[in-house]
């Protein structure tokens, strides 16, 4: 599946849900998922410029050419 992650085009195999993608990209660990420690609180995700609440990561299906923005906290003025 071809996806645009933070503006970069990448290809993934065997990915169906947003949660699976976040595990592959190592924002979330397999252990977190097994222990039920998702949703994570240190990132926020937009799928095709619409926010996906953390509670819906596991239920959010990805489609070919989806655009994902994965944001974290930074310093600001």
């Amino acid at each position: 599946m071809n996806l645009a992650i933070n503006g970069e085009h990448k290809t993934f195999d065997n990915i169906q849900t947003l949660q699976q993608l976040l595990v592959v990209l190592e924002y979330v660990t397999e252990t977190d998922v097994m222990n039920g420690n998702t949703p994570v609180s240190n990132i926020v995700v937009a799928l095709n410029q619409a926010i996906v609440p953390a509670s819906q990561y596991a239920d959010t299906m990805l489609n070919e050419n989806d655009q994902l923005d994965i944001l974290g906290a930074i310093t600001g003025g």
């Binding site: 933070n6 503006g7 990209l25 190592e26 924002y27 240190n42 990132i43 926020v44 937009a46 410029q49 926010i51 609440p53 953390a54 923005d69 994965i70 944001l71 974290g72 906290a73 930074i74 310093t75 600001g76 003025g77």
Partner: protein, 268 residues
């Protein structure tokens, strides 16, 4: 506890009239110590695309979180870098999801060279975000009518610039800022951006502004921690001076020591 330095906005108590940014410090530790020294009412943060490694390595954010938990200071995410209402609205929504707060410092830039706010897009974004339950604190110019529009759509305060971001030039248009204070007597007004020295922050507070927000002046000082303390004391002194009521300026000299009983008076 409510003190002279407490400010109420949107029915919430903000414990400090100096608000500080978290960027540009030489290290996360210096940023943390500067926050402790400045005792800000708000600390500003932002959000950007990050890899998993960047999220994991974020020392600044760890210190900001710890400071907020220990101090009771509030977090104020910004929409820095946005150039349209639509961009700012989406980034504000993402900030609310990430930082778990309804506060947003709304920035919509209209000119990249001066970083001057885009006035029409700013009002459009503010109106939408207020309707979505945000406490919108807009970074704006010192235009009176713009500030009135932002208040009219529901912003609980407005934050006109003193000077362009990062310039340290202080209050470039004191006449206009004085007019804002006079014409918007009941509004919460915060000077955001352009302050470079504690004396300029005190100047803003003496004019009757309710708080000041700054970043570069502290972060780029030779000793940021000491500068944060200097700004803290200047802001508080300026507020006290405003509350105390300052004397009327005069054109001519007027002796303060009484002349009555002066010896040798007209004897020579």
């Amino acid at each position: 506890m409510t003190t002279e330095n407490t400010i109420h906005i949107a029915d919430e108590k903000i414990n400090g009239r100096l608000w500080l940014g978290t960027s540009l410090y030489p290290s996360p530790e210096v940023m943390r110590d500067s926050l402790v020294a400045g005792q800000p009412g708000f600390v500003t943060v932002s959000l950007r695309r990050q890899t998993a490694q960047q999220v994991a390595d974020n020392g600044h954010w760890h210190y900001v979180q710890t400071y907020i938990e220990q101090s009771g200071c509030k977090i104020l995410p910004n929409t820095a870098g946005c150039h349209s209402a639509d961009e700012a609205i989406l980034l504000a929504q993402m900030a609310r999801e990430l930082f778990k707060t309804d506060w947003i410092k709304l920035e919509v830039i209209g000119d990249d060279y001066t970083l001057q706010p885009h006035t029409t897009q700013l009002v459009k974004a503010a109106e939408t975000l207020v309707q979505q339950g945000f406490n919108v604190l807009p970074y704006c110019t010192d235009d009176l009518v713009l500030c009135k529009e932002l208040l009219a759509v529901g912003c609980p305060a407005v934050m006109p610039w003193g000077a362009p971001i990062g310039t340290g030039k202080g209050l470039l248009n004191r006449h206009q800022l004085t007019t804002l204070r006079e014409r918007l007597a009941d509004a919460v007004l915060i000077i955001d951006a352009g302050l470079g020295k504690p004396s300029q922050a005190m100047d803003a507070m003496e004019l009757g502004f309710d708080a000041v927000l700054l970043n570069t002046a502290v972060a780029k000082a030779h000793d940021p921690v000491l500068m944060a303390k200097a700004f803290h004391e200047a802001v508080n002194a300026g507020r006290m001076a405003y509350r105390a009521g300052m004397m009327q300026e005069r054109q001519t000299a007027s002796a303060s020591t009484p002349t009555l009983g002066m010896p040798f008076w007209h004897q020579s």
